[in-house]
Every structure is written in C-alpha cells, then in structure tokens.
Subunit: 312 residues, 2 copies
C-alpha cells in the first residue's frame, strides 16, 4: 500500500437547524470533530476496521454505519468494486445534535474521493454522505453533511434536484456548544413537531431568515442577532432540553449574539463576536448548570470555513 492509498482527515461537527433556518441552514465548527482514515485495498469490499471513542455504540458493519454506507454509495455510483478500509476516531459526542453521523459520512467520502483522483467535486459528494445520514436517522438530510463538506454556512435549497448553496461570508464568529448529558433521538424530536405552521409565523420566520442571510453576508452582527430567532421550532423543542431557558438566558446575558438549539438537540449553540465573551459565557453557564444540577459539556470553538481538513 503506497502513501497515496491512505488518507487521514479531520471531519468537523456541524450545527443544523440554525434558528430560523429549520432543515435548510447549517454551519461547520472548528472543533470538535472526528479523525477518519480511509485506505484503498486490494480486496473488493468496504470494511470498518475500528471505531474508537464511541464506547462501542457504533456498528462496525459498513451497511449500518454512516461512513460505510456513504462510501458504498460513492463506489456504486462509479460502478467500481474497489476495496476500502475505514478507521474512525470519534472525538465528539454521539446523538447530541452536533452532526456526529454526518462527520463520519462526510469525512469518509471526502477522503475516498481524494484517493480516487477526485472524480467528484466536493459539492457532488453531499448526496453520498446523505445516504449515510439516512441509515442513521431514517431521513437523508443534508443540513449537516453539506456544511461538514463545504465549510462555513450552507443552505439546502432543494433536495430534488440537489442544490446546496454556500453563503458567501467569512464572518469570524466564535461558537459555544453546550451539550447537556441527555440524549434526544432525532426521530422523537421530529415527532413532536406540529405538522402545520400558522401563516403569521411563516411570515415572521421568513423575515428573520432573510435578515439572517443578509446579516451574515454583510457581516452585520446586530442584524444577525436580531434575525437569528426561531418562532416555530425552538418553542416546541426547548421543553425537551433540561435547563434550556437558563442556558439560553445566561448566554444572552453574557453577550451572545444569538443562541438556539443545535440540530434537534439537546446541544445548544451560541455565537459571539469575540473570544473573551464566549469564555465568560461558558463559565457562567457552567455555574448556572452546576447550581441547577444539570450535567453538561462545553466546546469553545469558531465557525469553520475550511470544511474537512487533510492531515499531512
């Protein structure tokens, strides 16, 4: 096996359902993320050799693992029976609304595509990684895998045809991720949502979404803050998350630009214009949660505009 047959990448955590962008807006962060090694082999099959950091929870069977399924989908599209070995070192929590399954899927297809001489553009890889999401959560959503692959803020305009649009911004925002020690299954978080939305709330939500996108592009912190408000999904899901109100209020009191649920929870993201404010918010949130006996982990990070990184 030559050096060109092996690649290790860092695949980032991602925040989907960004406030008023339910199901259509996600962003990547610099940390946490998974380390994924993909090797071409002389065999004909796809194998997951090992997974570390998952407490044995993730399946090694490639047909049940987001990384395996995505790689198989890519190979099927190319109609080649290339052998592929995958090794995963998970460095982020599972089932937490931080795009863990997406990181595995995105990282694996990204590395494989590079090893095969880039038959696909990065954007063209999104549908393969979506197949990995389908096996994990039941729906082939793209709002985690697209930002993991493409970096930054990405809009899922349409699935049919696939249309994933990078928001043209590089605004340097700091992002605090708070993960309560509770698990919420995506399908349960989806089940509680009302099937219908009042037209008045649609108008409010779309006004905010327009403001958020303009704010990101203009790098207008105040406009982002005024606009990153979710009047439809957050009120329905917040009661599932222990301490949500306290954490959210503490983030805003500490200078957060915005705060909402990451993915379908239980993680909570908040955005800051400077590092110091984020550090203070993290300390205060830890204090509040300790007082209220809510067990949490915190990740202090930034928006990631590079997407997946290759380890040299």
């Amino acid at each position: 096996m030559s050096a060109k047959d092996v690649m290790t990448v860092f695949s980032p955590a991602t925040v989907a359902n960004v406030g008023c962008g339910f199901d259509i807006l996600g962003f990547a962060v610099e940390q946490p993320g998974d380390e994924i090694t993909v090797s071409l082999t002389n065999r004909k099959d796809v194998r997951i050799l090992s997974i570390a950091g998952d407490d044995g929870k993730l399946p090694l069977d490639p047909s049940k693992n987001s990384a395996g399924v995505s790689v198989i989908a890519l190979l099927q599209k190319l109609k080649v029976s290339q052998g592929v070995d995958i090794t995963i070192v998970k460095k982020m929590p599972l089932g937490s609304g931080l795009g863990s399954s997406a990181a595995g899927a995105a990282g694996s297809v990204f590395a494989l595509n590079k090893l095969l001489g880039e038959p696909f553009t990065t954007q063209e890889l999104v549908p393969f990684a979506m197949e990995g999401e389908r096996v994990c959560s039941g729906t082939a959503h793209a709002d985690n895998v697209a930002p993991a692959l493409m970096g930054g803020f990405v809009t899922v305009r349409s699935y049919d045809p696939p249309d994933f649009i990078s928001i043209p911004t590089k605004i340097p925002l700091f992002c605090l991720l708070v993960k309560p020690h509770t698990e919420i299954l995506t399908k349960n978080a989806r089940k509680i949502l009302q099937d219908n939305v009042p037209l008045k709330k649609l108008v409010c939500q779309t006004g905010n979404l327009a403001g958020l996108i303009i704010g990101l592009i203009r790098e207008d912190i105040s406009l982002i803050g005024r606009s990153l408000v979710d009047v439809i999904i957050e009120p329905q899901r917040a009661p599932l998350i222990p301490g949500y109100e306290s954490i959210r209020n503490t983030a805003y009191d500490s200078g957060a630009i915005a705060c909402s649920i990451s993915g379908s929870g239980p993680s909570i993201f908040s955005l800051y214009s400077d590092n110091r404010k984020m550090e203070i918010a993290a300390e205060k949130i830890k204090e509040v949660c300790s007082r209220e006996h809510i067990s949490i982990d915190c990740f202090l990070t930034k928006i990631n505009y590079s997407g997946i990184q290759i380890y040299e």
Copy 2:
C-alpha cells in the same frame, strides 16, 4: 411661496410578495409611477388639491387618502401644525397589485420630509407611509412602501420594532409587468389564503428564500431563477387571475428568469436578464392573451435602485 416650499417627485410602482418572499420582500421598478407635488402653505391643514389619472376613484379627503394620511402621520410625529397641499398625477393603474396606494404615500412623505429639512432618514419614513396603506387596505403593510422609498429589493424583517433591510445588490434585471383588466381586492386575496401552512412547504419555501437572497447578492441569475418559486401563496391565488397559467408559461418559454404574482394580483411580474428577451416575452404574451380574449396592459421596465426621484 418660495421654490423651497414646493417639491415634485416621481414615486415608483412596486412589486410585493416576491415569490417565496410573501409579506416580507418587495422591489421597486423604474416605471410606471406617480408624480406627486407637495407644497408647504401658511394654512394649518393638509389638503389634496387634485388627483389626475384615477378616473375620479380616489378620495380627495386627506383622512381617507394614502398620501393625506401619511403626511398627517408625519406631521403628528413632529407635533407641528404645518399646512400642506398635495397634488397627485397617477400614472399607474389602481388596485392592480403594483403598489398604487404605496406610491402616493411614499412620494408624499418623501417630498414633505425634504421640504422640512429632513428630520427623518428615508428608512424612518416607512412607518408614516404604512399608515397610508392602512387606510387603503386595512393593514399597515410595508412591503410596497419600503421599496418605493428605499429603492431596489427590500426585506421587511419585522414590524415591531420596524426593521426594513435593503438587500445589498444592484443586479440589473428587466421586469415585465402584465396587468389583466380584472380587479382583485387585497382583502379578498387575503381571505382565500389558508391560515396554516404544512411544515414541509415551509421548509421548501425557506430554502428557496435563502437561495433567492444569496442569488440576488451574488448576482447569480441561475440561482435566482431556481429559487424564485412560491409553493405556498401562488398556488392559492393563481386561480383568481384570468389567464395566469398561459401568461406564466409564455414568460418562461420566452426566457424569463422568474415569474410570479405581483402583490396580491392580478398583475404578474416576470424578470429577464436582457431587454430583448423581455420585449419578445411581452409580444408573445399579448398574442396569447388576445387569442384567449384576456384584456391586458404591459409595462416594460427595470428594477429601480434609486427609489423616489426629485424632479428638478
């Protein structure tokens, strides 16, 4: 009366409810529009001296006319009892979904504000003009008056507090306005709308809205075309407009980037990247409508990025 006490302005027609931007997105066009003359007088009251071009349909009573009400609202805010005379030459059809009442309201407060030494910014004038809309249509909506005043594409992010955001674009699009000879009352067009929207359609609509805003800012014609699609309002209102399907199909067949209902109809707007395509579309639409015995007027124009213009 000195020269500084009189001002004549051109106040443009506007397209509201731009596709997926129901109630939150509008744009101004270069033609048609109204000519409005505002004079300061030594009296204490606001008068509408005359209205031409309205077939006698609009009220001269300032408390019932959008221009009069808007001017009164501005003067009340300033707590001055300045006499104001208004003359209106309407050069656009009434009740057609082209923002006729907004043009009167926006033009009048714009001119008065200039004559008074600009106590307000242009954006701050929007709430006064909204009062004019309230007297005409029953709701103080801003998606016509804001683009009339500010020019270009404007998002109504919020009414409380008022937050009107210019979309940072100068994309030079041509705009064909087709006005069937049918009247649709805004309140009737609103009454037929379902109070609730399926969550799935919300996701589709917000994906398109995000794409539209990014497309406008990036000046990406293809993205604008893919995104300017309304899956919620247009299907409900289209049946109110005679010949809508034929006109829409003909516009797209002639190279339109996008086509949808202007305001609450019956006018229909379509956008083009060049003048020639717009001219061809107009000719073909006239042919089709003639064949189907649908009586229409056409306005061939462009997006107006200047807002209201002062006649020197």
